[in-house]
Assembly symmetry: C2
Homo-oligomer: 344 residues x 2
DNA sequence: TTTAGCACTCTAAAGCTTAGAGTGCTAAAG
DNA sequence: CTTTAGCACTCTAAGCTTTAGAGTGCTAAA
């Protein structure tokens, strides 16, 4: 479409973006001329900057202020100008030491801790979708009698989820009968993902079994509820207060809107899910976001897998002015970690 | 100590408190004289108010402003002047309908929903401590082999907690042996509260059993971890953004401090636990709070029980200027609900 | 003891001034 | 044709001043 930018323009755009990310102040021509010694006077830079403004890569808050990157400018920077260094040794140390803390056995613990690490390493708010139970494959169903009336139904998936539920049995069931039913179910369901266990399949099985036993209604309820409940998977947040450190959120009203958003788990889930189809790191800048609520933010997400199955999304949410290069680094690092950690 | 207040002073103090709670503006003598027709001129009220200020029941933000209640004033109001009406029919309706939502099977669901109801009914932030696992009594331990290497250990308490954990078995164990060990443990532990299952007791049992089987190490790890992990019980929050609606929190720095507090679960737990010894509703106004972090707030708490055992604390946290009467009402209602709901 | 009247005080909001940063334009230099 | 120096101009944020309004405390009279 538009002609490609000259190298000089690229350099200048890059300088403006980097500077603005660091200082949050509009960047003037003098600043660019001085700090990135490129042998040009501020007047020349000024002309170039005026061009960049015409091309919509830069904005001017008011006539006599410096320039700030437009959303298009950020996009251009992310796509063409940014270099992604590796993490500094210090960062790497800090991150891996926080990640390797002892008591991280439970999946939930791992996720929560990851959220914390991610937010503190980026100084932004982090969102992590818990592993999607529904994409896991059915492994085993067990029924464990507790006393006369009650039993514990346990559902286990290939990705290590364990769901359980105490159910009431109206009639007692002999060990043998129970065993029969349970192994029938296991046989029928083995290997299916939870997604595939539809209500209609359940009904079919139910019909099959009802001929012989009316009693397992409750066990089916567990299955059905698992399906319903898990439609909204938990989203874990880290560093929600970090947005308060960003100068773009010094307005109480904006803060309220963001915090309100953070309280709406289903919406957060949708926001994360929305990006989860893609393969690698995805950067959504401002209006590129589908959801109105985060149109003033940038969302950077990655997906993590267990045994090569995409199970969830990890993201960083912050103002459009954020340190893209750093966030992407950290996010990559974390996704690697999760992939490795959850597969064991 | 000080001589009791005259009826007239009480009336005036009450009027100031009520008015200030409603408007968040300092209350002037004219306002009191007019809105609470007590046949006195503003000048008279003015004199009385000056007296109340001398007695430390009222404060004056600056020379020519109205008066606001001091912390002592609020305390006097709560102890002597406040009348606690019942909930209005509307409120009652709203609360019971939110509470009776369908899918509240899990304890956690009940707690989370309660937090939501409490915060929206009071327009404050609500805190609810999850039921204290440690005060529950041991009921049953089960071990459920999954495959060659792994088993599921399930721990059940009298208050309906179910903890489980997949463990690795280095050696295989015959059904009979397993059964033997498990029933030994159940016999030894039945009826003890989790608190009573100390590490030393576990070690003792371990010694007993090690003579026969080296294998259950992992099962003990579950027990031990349960003890450790649960030291910090979850605290559920509702309406954290409500503080943003309070005019006393329009300062970003204060907001940051509060939100930071909300992210520190262990501290929240301590704050709630601190009040849990007492019987009924407890009101802590400002500096009456033990914890520095909430010295600018009022915390109103109640405790809920399962089968007459105190299991957790429910609280409302907000600015010192809050609608005490209303909050106390709603809190009472909610504690009743929880007591009833969790005992079934 | 209560009240009217009045001078006084204090704040918050609105208006005004100013310093500083940065621009855009023009004309000269390379 | 491109780059640069110079300069007038613009805009904001911060500080200062002014003012209206609310409320007080005191005094003297009822």
């Amino acid at each position: 479409m538009t002609s490609p930018l000259s190298d000089r323009k690229k350099q200048i755009l890059r300088a403006v973006v980097i500077n603005y990310i660091k200082t949050a102040e509009p960047v003037g021509s003098r600043t660019v001329a001085r700090s990135y010694r490129m042998g040009l006077s501020s007047a020349t830079i000024r002309n170039e900057m005026a061009d960049l403004e015409d091309l919509d890569y830069l904005d001017q808050p008011h006539t006599s202020a410096g320039r700030i990157p437009s959303q298009l400018g950020y996009r251009y920077y992310v796509d063409n100008l940014m270099d992604i260094d590796n993490l500094s040794a210090d960062d790497e140390m800090a991150i891996s030491s926080s990640l390797s803390s002892e008591k991280m056995r439970e999946i939930e613990q791992i996720i929560i801790n990851s959220a914390r690490v991610l937010s503190s390493a980026t100084n932004q708010t982090s969102l992590i979708m818990g592993p999607q139970f529904r994409k896991s494959a059915f492994r085993q169903l067990r029924i464990l009698p507790l006393d006369d009336k009650r039993s514990l139904v346990v559902l286990i998936t290939d990705t290590g989820f364990i769901k359980n539920k105490v159910i009431d049995m109206q009639q007692q069931l002999s060990q043998a009968e129970l065993h029969q039913v349970v192994s029938y179910l296991n046989q029928k369901l083995y290997g299916l993902t939870i997604d595939q266990v539809t209500t209609s399949l359940i009904n079919e099985l139910k019909r099959d079994l009802f001929k012989r036993l009316e009693i397992l209604e409750q066990a089916f309820i567990l299955l059905e509820e698992s399906l319903k409940e898990e439609k909204q998977i938990r989203v874990f947040l880290g560093g929600t207060t970090n947005i308060l450190n960003q100068p773009e959120f010094k307005d109480v009203d904006k803060i309220r809107r963001m915090l309100n958003l953070f309280e709406q788990e289903p919406l957060l889930f949708k926001i994360l899910e929305d990006t989860s189809s893609e393969d690698n790191i995805v950067v959504r800048i401002g209006a590129e976001n589908e959801f109105e609520a985060i149109r003033e933010c940038t969302l950077i997400t990655g997906t993590y897998k267990i045994h090569d199955k995409t199970l969830g999304t990890v993201g960083v949410l912050g103002p459009i002015r954020m340190d893209y290069s750093r966030v992407i680094c950290v996010l990559r690092r974390l996704v690697d970690y999760l992939n490795q950690r959850l597969s064991s």
